[in-house]
């Protein structure tokens, strides 16, 4: 049923589906350059429009994700140009390095696995810590405002966030390892 629908879809809808599937990877390039999530969301939006307006060129380019990431980078630069406001880092080479590293290809499967692992690990966090993360990442709060809303001391905020991120990383790694072992055991 789904495949039939896919077959019937026009080219733009297919592109939409591709954008949707690769959303985190494209978003990573934008976030790497601008860091603020709300600004990143806006630029991602402009990226979608740009991709759709150049649908033929995108389809002819072969590697969709590579092309989409390139457009995302250009959209970040255009955003700053339009706003006539350069980011804190005016050094273009710094941005290039961060964007280059973020653009390197990661298999879609890795994104998928990590996302499942992250969901699992976030649910295991104690409520105050989970709340802190939802405020930071869902509501895009930072610094004083985040500390105030989450009821955390501003002086310990940075270390708390870093510690939770480290815990999550360890949890995800062990979750993926366990899933792989279970998968192997299932196969044998």
């Amino acid at each position: 049923m789904y495949m039939k629908e896919l077959g019937r879809m026009d080219e733009k809808s297919k592109l939409f589906l591709q954008i949707n599937e690769n959303r985190p990877a494209i978003m990573a390039v934008i976030v790497a350059m601008v860091r603020d999530f709300n600004v990143s969301d806006d630029i991602f939006q402009d990226t979608i429009v740009e991709i759709l307006e150049n649908a033929e060129r995108v389809q002819g380019a072969g590697n969709f994700l590579l092309y989409a990431k390139g457009i995302a980078r250009n959209m970040v630069l255009r955003h700053w140009r339009d706003k006539k406001k350069l980011p804190v880092t005016t050094d273009q080479s710094v941005l290039e390095i961060l964007a280059d590293a973020a653009s390197e290809e990661t298999p879609q499967e890795a994104w998928h696995r990590e996302k499942i692992g992250l969901r699992h690990c976030l649910d295991k966090l104690p409520e105050p810590r989970r709340k802190l993360f939802v405020l930071r990442y869902g509501r895009n709060l930072k610094g004083d405002q985040l500390a105030k809303e989450a009821g955390v001391n501003i002086s310990s905020l940075r270390t708390t966030l870093a510690r939770i991120r480290q815990l999550l990383r360890e949890c995800i790694d062990s979750f993926i390892l366990r899933s792989e072992q279970e998968g192997l055991a299932g196969e044998s």
């Binding site: 806006d42 939006q45 050094d91």
Partner: protein, 391 residues
Amino acid sequence: MNPEFEKLLSHYLDDEASQEELRKLAELIKSENECRKRYQEELRIHVLLREISLEKISSEKEKSRDRRKNVKANLRFVRQTSHGTLWWSIAASFAVFAVGLWFFMKDRQLPVQSIAILSEKQSAVTVERGQEIFNAENGFFLAAGDAVRTSSGSSAIIKFTDSTVIELNASTSIVLNPSSIEENAEKQVDIINGSISAEIAKQPEGRSMVFKTHNAKAVVLGTKLEISVESEKTVLKVREGLVYFRLLSGGDGYDVPAGGMAEASGDTIKYTPKPLPPRPKEEPMKLGKEEKKPKSKDPPENITNKNDRIIIEDGNVIGKVKSTGKDFLEVTSINGKTARYIPEWKNGGYSKDMLRTIDRLKPGDLVSIQWYVNDHIRIKKIELLSDKERK
């Protein structure tokens, strides 16, 4: 792992890295493979955390709405699309169903409880619903929770079931707040960025339309307005009616009448009332024998409006004070009509400044009154035109 790199990475992810820290971070990413790998890992988690957090917020809102409320809201939607008669209701329901089915088949749009419809879009407009993104065409049914975005150079109009119309200008993002379909809830539109113009149909008592930005809130019962959102401020311009405008952080707000403008920035609201028309003459006027009468508009005689938040008319009258009371003023205009004017309602009582002004006036004084009518004829501003004579 390099502890300095970990610290820099942490600052970077918290969006608190200085220029120097960013430079060091970039150098390490470029020169050390291990750092590059760590950066990529953490950036992936960073982006995924954002995605999952947004999913969580969205699903918590979904859970908070129980099925019963949805059914009631559905019934309300059908009632609102009808205009009183059963046949209109049936015909409208069929039309909505048929158009909806067509669009559903065309764009694979999920069946939703629609609260509005997209129309007259120019260029690309996208709608984000949960994790899905739609390239929205005219006629796209919008549901509570949808984020509608116009790109640079595009625009769109959103029509609600109660005839409220919102026009999205270029590079604008709004969210139709999910609470909008809850029973007795306000209809809320969150303006994330950009600018909108709106014509709001008269809203049911107690269910105002609310526009919320990052720092301000505009509460409307029926009016025409414009709101533009910038990174540090929100600007409201009221074309018709009356809008209550306040900071999200709280404090007193302002009733901004037609022609008025308010700007929320930081912890303050800068309120600019409607600019007054130029003063008719520098000299004291002589009524009766002059060649030309200055422009003067009398307020309506019969006021049927009972809602003090809706301004039905406004104007500027010139006339002589007939009598004054503790909290009113009777003026006979140069057109010969007499009307009673009362001060604006501010902070739970009549405007104290205006009461003091009325107290100083004497019968026979020539005044220019800027007035508006909600449930009474209210004084916005008084100018004494014959003060030289009094002196």
